[in-house]
Each structure stands twice: as structure tokens, then as C-alpha cells.
């Protein structure tokens, strides 16, 4: 990721703190067993069930594509190396989380 992309991702990852109505929210956790859990939602408390989520590698290649479960969760096997989770709730509603921000 170049510096500009990183700033953009950083900015997006800060978005959950902004208090706009219906802001998409996503957080991911390293389960410590080789898997990663992400949970999504919206700032008005509504569910993110069915919202698309993708994992891309450091070069922007898509590693996997999925959807949030009924509980607004998505679990995947932790990829090798740096990766980014993209929680895509539609135009202007993309949250990106860099692997370095995903901890136990």
C-alpha cells in the first residue's frame, strides 16, 4: 500500500468515530487461532446482515469475497502477510481495515 492509499484507509478506518446517521461500522479481531472475525453494523444500530465484505492482499488482489452473516459477522482464515478487509455497504460506505490494526 502506498502512502496515499494508506492515508485513505486510515481515514476510512476512523470513520466509525464520525457521528453521521447510518454510518457503516466494522471491527475485526484476530482470534489467535489462525482465524479473523469481523463484525459489522451501522451507527443507528441496524444490522449489517448480507453486507459484502472482501479481503485483499498488499497488492490489491482479492483473496476472498463474502457476506456478513445474520449476526452481522464474518470469519475467515488469516492470510499470510499484510491484508486489508473491505466492508462495502455501498457507494460512500466503504470501511477498510488494515491487518496491522487487527489484533487479539
Amino acid at each position: 500500500m502506498n502512502k496515499k492509499q494508506f492515508s485513505f484507509a486510515l481515514m476510512l478506518s476512523m470513520m466509525p468515530l464520525a457521528s453521521m446517521a447510518h454510518t457503516p461500522l466494522c471491527s475485526c479481531y484476530d482470534n489467535g487461532d489462525g482465524t479473523v472475525l469481523c463484525e459489522g453494523g451501522f451507527s443507528d444500530g441496524s444490522s449489517a446482515a448480507g453486507v459484502g465484505l472482501a479481503v485483499v492482499d498488499a497488492n490489491g488482489n482479492k483473496l476472498l469475497d463474502g457476506k456478513m452473516s445474520e449476526d452481522s459477522e464474518f470469519e475467515f482464515n488469516k492470510p499470510e502477510g499484510d491484508y486489508t478487509v473491505q466492508f462495502n455497504a455501498g457507494p460512500g460506505h466503504l470501511v477498510e481495515i488494515s491487518s496491522e490494526d487487527i489484533t487479539e
Binding site: 461500522l25 471491527s27 451507527s43 444500530g45 490494526d101 489484533t103
Partner: protein, 262 residues
């Protein structure tokens, strides 16, 4: 000389009248909005946060738990006794650690053991709630916890502002409680999380008399918050239990909110 004497007497009188009223059970966390998984360090202290005077001994609480979504997690086994230092004395208090991981609202609630207040010859039990949010996701801060008495926030309690208002609804056994006096205070000094102590210096002079709101016919009160800080609301004698060990019991509902500058 005369003026000095009068002033001193005035200050003494104010200090005494202030001390008689404003007990507040604290459930304090330094942060109420967190973005990442965080070990929350909490302090349970019974004191007079606005006057920052005498601190009172806490016995082991009857209940201490956190409500997260539809789960109630018992935290009694996380309580560790500590000695808490106020500017005048030290008292028995508690601390607890709890890891906040998943996004949502965490409502910490304590039902303390009744405290015998010699000065008034009554027992006081302040059922207290504090709120922490992780990740900006609201998951039930507006829900009551089915406590004997409690204040249900009608504004998001971890997101209120200096210059704005806070509205709460007082419930007793789940029903709105009208006509109840609610005292309002802010924590008027630093909290030393490592040293388990209130600061020696106060931020500002406490008002001359207690700040009070009376609940309306729906059990609601609204208060305009003048300054940023940690504000507490204590609705007195709101609960159904009025006697403990043959003496009068004041079963109070307390809620804490954090007001910030916009």
C-alpha cells in the same frame, strides 16, 4: 477582621450543608468511548465527588454486572478491594478489570450493600449505572436493566455535550417515578487511577447549594450541562425498599454521563 470571620463562618456553614447531602456511588472508567479492544479499569467508590470531601467505606456489593446486548455478565468475582484516598480520609472501595472487545454498549451496574449514614441515622443504597461504548455501535443503552430503581437515559449517555442537555427517566420497579428529587453533581477533581485517590485540588468551587431536578409526571428530568466533565444524577429514595435492619433506607438510582466539548 470582622469580614474575615464572617467569611470563614460562611464557608464553614456551606461546607457542612454540602456534606450532609451529596453522596454519590461511583462506577468510574477513564474512557467511555473506545475504538479498539481495551482492558477497562474500573473504580467503585462511595464519596462526595463535587465537594471532594469525605469518602465512605463500601461493603461487598450485592450485585455487580455488565449488560452487553442481551447478555448479563456477573462481575462479582472481578471485584478487588482497594483503599481509596480522599483529601480528608481513606475508605474501603473496589476496583475491577473487564476487557471490552466486541462492538456495542456495555452497561456496568452495581447494587451496593446498604451504607449506614450515622449523621442521618439511615441506610443509603445507591444503585448505579455507567456506560461504555466500543466501536460506535449502539446496542441498547436506552434499555432498562430491571433494577429495583434506575435512571434510563433518553440521551445517549456516553455522547452528551457541555452546553447541551441530558434527559433521564426514573423508574421504580420498572414504572416511571414522578415527583422524586434528583441531585446532580460532577466529579470536581482528578482521579488517580494508579494511586486510588481523588486529587487534592478541586477544578472549581462547588455551587452554594445542591443542584436538584424533580422528576415530572412521566418520571423524567432534564438538565442543561454547563461544563464538560463526568456528571452524576442521583434520584433519592426512588426504590421500593424503604427499610433496612430496622432503620430507614434510602434506595437511590444513580447514573453517570460524560459530557464533552463539541
Amino acid at each position: 477582621m470582622k469580614k474575615t470571620l464572617l467569611t470563614s463562618l460562611g464557608v464553614a456553614a456551606l461546607a457542612v450543608s454540602g456534606a450532609a447531602n451529596a453522596h454519590f456511588q461511583l462506577v468510574y472508567t477513564p474512557d467511555v468511548i473506545v475504538e479498539k479492544p481495551t482492558n477497562m479499569n474500573m473504580k467503585l467508590v462511595f464519596g462526595h465527588p463535587m465537594e471532594n470531601g469525605h469518602v465512605m467505606d463500601m461493603d461487598k456489593p450485592e450485585q455487580f454486572f455488565v449488560q452487553f446486548k442481551d447478555k448479563r455478565i456477573d462481575l462479582m468475582n472481578k471485584l478487588k478491594p482497594v483503599s481509596w484516598a480522599g483529601p480528608e480520609n481513606t475508605a474501603k472501595a473496589y476496583q475491577a478489570d473487564y476487557r471490552v472487545k466486541r462492538n456495542g454498549d456495555y452497561v456496568f451496574a452495581v447494587v451496593p450493600a446498604p451504607y449506614y449514614e450515622k449523621g442521618e441515622d439511615i441506610y443509603i443504597q445507591q444503585i448505579t449505572k455507567s456506560y461504555v461504548n466500543k466501536g460506535g455501535l449502539p446496542t441498547g443503552w436506552e434499555q432498562p436493566l430491571e433494577l429495583a430503581t434506575e435512571i434510563v437515559p433518553l440521551n445517549k449517555p456516553y455522547q452528551v455535550f457541555a452546553g447541551g442537555t441530558f434527559t433521564g427517566q426514573l423508574l421504580s420497579e420498572g414504572k416511571p417515578a414522578p415527583g422524586v428529587e434528583c441531585e446532580i453533581e460532577f466529579i470536581n477533581t482528578d482521579i488517580d487511577m494508579k494511586g486510588n485517590a481523588f486529587g487534592k485540588e478541586n477544578y472549581r468551587e462547588a455551587p452554594e447549594t445542591a443542584i436538584v431536578a424533580i422528576t415530572d409526571q412521566d418520571g423524567e428530568f432534564t438538565f442543561g450541562i454547563p461544563k464538560a466533565g463526568v456528571w452524576g444524577f442521583a434520584c433519592l429514595g426512588a426504590g421500593p425498599v424503604t427499610e433496612h435492619e430496622g432503620k430507614e433506607l434510602s434506595q437511590d438510582a444513580v447514573i453517570w454521563v460524560n459530557a464533552q466539548e463539541l
